[in-house]
């Protein structure tokens, strides 16, 4: 096994995670922010997988993919703004 490969995957995942997080904070549309937070959760799951924590990766994937997204989408549709 070549450790440089894992370093490359970690760099790609980490850099894209931070860029997506910054964009999620500063994007104007709230629905786009929710989708970007879902992407951050995905890359966090890849990083947990890389850090030899498969249990944590399963939990993060199953929580971040479905339940967290649905909670925020529900809030977006029920919040009242004038």
């Amino acid at each position: 096994m070549n450790p440089d490969f894992l370093l490359g995957i970690a760099s790609v995942a980490g850099v894209s995670m931070i860029i997506a997080a910054v964009r999620a904070i500063f994007v104007r549309d709230l629905l786009s922010a929710i989708i970007l937070v879902g992407f951050v959760s995905l890359t966090a799951s890849v990083l947990f997988f890389l850090m030899d924590a498969p249990d944590v990766a399963i939990t993060e994937a199953s929580i971040g993919a479905g339940i967290s997204t649905v909670i925020f989408l529900w809030g977006r549709s029920k919040v009242r703004e004038e």
Binding site: A53, P54, D55, I58, S62, G66, I67, V70, K78
Partner: protein
């Protein structure tokens, strides 16, 4: 300007965290407790997956407390939504959602059961398996427009799971003088499905509890609290 000030403040806080980690230094090996878990856990508990062993038996009392925290948050959500009910959608789902809702919950439920049951052998255990089962419930709830049938069983399942977790702990206390002692059942051969003492039972209890609490939150979101 406000963002810049917030950035400086956050940088200050994160710098504190980085300084604290700097004083730890780069870890060279396992800590004292983790070394004991890695060296003795295989014989003491009989589980292959050390993380499940730590969650369920070594730190089982902490897990009981954490599950109580989860219960508090879920019941706060359900209470708020039953006092201040919001409207629910009357929109019919499109055919893709309807077909997915009929086909996919079965396999997801089966896979969640696999993750819970094999918690001591492969990655998984109570918490991830409960989240997967709650995802199957979420899929059913996405497509429905009226009350769902399983909603009234959630409270019963949740309380029975919590009760059996505590009772399994007290069994060890009565028989061997130690809360959540794993040796009250036979340990078996590590690597087989029926091994590792009471770890599969406690995993099942945690899984049912987590799944019913997360599904309770989602049902409250869909149906406005309902009759708890």
């Amino acid at each position: 300007m406000r963002t810049f000030i917030a950035f400086l403040l956050a940088l200050y806080l994160v710098f504190f965290a980085a300084a604290a980690f700097e004083s730890f230094g780069e870890p060279q090996g396992l800590g004292r407790i983790a070394e004991h878990y890695a060296a003795e856990g295989f014989e003491e508990v009989g589980a292959i997956n050390l993380v499940t062993a730590v969650v369920v038996t070594y730190r089982g009392l902490d897990t009981l407390g954490e599950v109580s925290v989860l219960f508090t948050a879920a019941s706060a959500v359900i209470l708020l939504l039953s006092v201040f009910p919001l409207g629910k959608p009357a929109n019919k789902p499109s055919s893709i959602v309807l077909l997915t809702m009929k086909v996919l919950p079965g396999p997801i439920l089966l896979f969640g059961g696999y993750i819970i049951a094999h918690g001591h052998l492969t990655p998984g255990g109570g918490f991830p398996g409960g989240a997967v089962v709650a995802s199957a419930a979420l899929l059913v709830l996405l497509g429905c427009t009226q009350e769902v049938g399983f909603a009234k069983w959630l409270t019963f399942a949740e309380s029975m799971a919590g009760f059996s977790f505590a009772m399994l702990g007290f069994w060890g206390l009565l028989k061997l003088g130690q809360f959540l002692n794993n040796s009250v059942l036979f340990l078996g051969i590590p690597g087989q499905l029926l091994s590792a003492g009471i770890i599969p039972l406690i995993s099942a209890a945690i899984g049912v509890k987590v799944a019913s609490e997360l599904s309770g939150i989602l049902v409250a979101y869909r149906c406005g609290g309902g009759k708890e």
